[in-house]
């Protein structure tokens, strides 16, 4: 296999990896906020349900969760698994897993906000939702960006776990090429890809952080 063929195959895998990454963030970031709010709710059922959910998501391997989400419908309910489900199983498993981690980051950020901010808003007549959206959340985002960056970088590397249910992302392709062609080149190429991807993400996150630096 020539290098160019190898790279084009890896390129296809790369697109899948980027897609997993993007879709997971798209779903898990807002979902995490909802989970965080449920976790802090006064409703005991909601609070305990989300507490257990977060505990399970953080307490078991993502690969196991991925397998359960993918094979669960068949083993538990006898629903036959369509081939199109494979990719979405990854998105679903990743999103609910990352939402749990993001939820705890949001919660930490929200709970770190001084009470005075809420009180000032209340006296000025802001409603609860206006207070949250206009006063609290923007400040929370600034506070949690470094922690979010950590998770986002972990997610890039975690996309390779899709390999376990044979979704042909970058790492799956690299391994296939390596064993059929008896070469390390595909691994090296994959490694470079992950590194560059991470580097770009780190630069982007840093620029967001800088942008929010206009206040303290």
């Amino acid at each position: 296999m020539s290098i160019s063929v190898m790279l084009s195959k890896l390129g296809e895998g790369m697109i899948t990896s980027v897609l997993i990454f993007t879709l997971t963030l798209l779903f898990s970031l807002p979902l995490g906020l909802i989970v965080a709010l449920a976790r802090m709710s006064k409703n005991i059922i909601l609070k305990n349900f989300t507490r257990i959910y977060i505990s399970i998501m953080r307490g078991t391997p993502l690969m196991l969760q991925l397998l359960v989400v993918y094979f669960g419908p068949y083993y538990l309910f006898g629903i036959s698994i369509s081939s199109g489900y494979r990719f979405w199983a990854v998105i679903l498993a990743f999103s609910i897993n990352y939402a749990a981690y993001f939820a705890e980051i949001y919660r930490g950020g929200i709970e770190s906000m001084p009470l005075g901010q809420y009180e000032a808003a209340r006296v000025l007549g802001y409603s609860e939702s206006q207070t949250f959206m206009k006063i609290i959340l923007p400040q929370v985002i600034k506070r949690i960006i470094p922690a979010i960056t950590n998770e986002v970088i972990t997610l890039i590397k975690d996309t390779s776990l899709a390999f376990s249910i044979a979704v042909t992302e970058m790492f799956t392709v690299a391994k296939a090429i390596a064993s059929s062609e008896k070469t390390m080149v595909s691994y090296v190429a994959a490694g470079i890809f992950y590194y560059v991807f991470n580097f770009v993400v780190a630069v982007v996150m840093e620029s967001i952080e800088k942008k929010l630096d206009y206040y303290r």
């Binding site: 001084p114 005075g116 901010q117 009180e119 000032a120 808003a121 209340r122 006296v123 000025l124 007549g125 802001y126 409603s127 206006q130 206009k134 006063i135 923007p138 400040q139 600034k142 206009y214 206040y215 303290r216």
Partner: protein, 254 residues
């Protein structure tokens, strides 16, 4: 005309401490009342009950004759509907000890956001008024600055402007100079004094006895959750009648 009154306010916290035991205060239009008292006397709680940050156990609360809270048959406080309370909230302003400015908003936005987005007043008008307020506070050049770039005294002046921008009938101050370095308290006291000269109705919780004596029409001395003594500012300070008032003033003068 009575702008604000709180009647028979009682409040205790979970540790069974009776913070407020039957306190009644009313403030007339244009009047400046100062509340003094030792720490833990309940003066901050009183202010927080007046500004709806804390709920009374029993008691009544009125703003310009409008009922914000009253007692039910069992003698427990019932509050007006959230909508009514929102309307009542635009009748008063509160200046916090720690300013509590919104750090992510510029100085001007701190002042103008609530009038624009809560009171739904015309944007151009509010901004114009905001700039006038800043000029009055001596902060014309700080409109685009952010709170962290200002000194404590400047931040407190912004927070006074923020409260004034809502056009309240009455302004409450919760120890407005306590978080400031001593050399910065003067500028805040000057601002409050100039508001008093314009006949702004104010209730000021303070430790600055000399200031209270100068600026207030009436001083209310609170200790142990009750009003121990109240009266004309000058005479209460120079000739206190109650022993607890005497002891408190003596301790401060030492």
């Amino acid at each position: 005309m009575e702008i604000f009154s709180i009647k028979n306010a009682k409040k205790s916290f979970e540790n069974n401490l009776d913070v407020l035991q039957d306190i009644s205060i009313s403030v007339a239009k244009g009047e400046v009342a100062a509340i003094i008292g030792p720490s833990g006397s309940g003066k901050s709680t009183l202010l927080r009950c007046a500004t709806l940050l804390e709920k009374m156990d029993s008691g009544e609360l009125y703003y310009s004759g409008e009922k914000a809270a009253w007692n039910n048959e069992a003698g427990k406080t019932v509050y007006a509907s959230p909508e009514k309370l929102r309307q009542i909230k635009s009748k008063f302003g509160l200046v916090f000890q720690n300013f509590n400015l919104f750090p992510h908003y510029s100085v001007l936005k701190n002042i103008t956001d609530a009038p624009i987005s809560i009171q739904k007043r015309k944007k151009d008008e509010v901004i114009q008024e905001g700039l006038v307020l800043l000029e009055k506070m001596g902060l014309s050049d700080k409109a685009d600055a952010y709170p962290f770039q200002l000194s404590g005294g400047q931040q407190q002046r912004v927070s006074i402007a923020r409260a004034l921008a809502m056009k309240p009938d009455i302004l409450f101050f919760d120890e407005p100079t306590s978080a400031l370095d001593p050399e910065l308290t003067g500028e805040i006291l000057r601002v409050i004094r100039s508001l008093a000269a314009e006949h702004m109705t104010m209730v000021i919780v303070t430790h600055e006895i000399e200031f209270a004596r100068n600026v207030a029409d009436r001083i209310i001395f609170i200790a142990g959750g009750v009003i121990v003594e109240e009266g004309n500012a000058e005479s209460l300070i120079s000739d206190p009648q109650n022993d607890r008032t005497k002891a408190f003033l003596n301790r401060l003068q030492r």
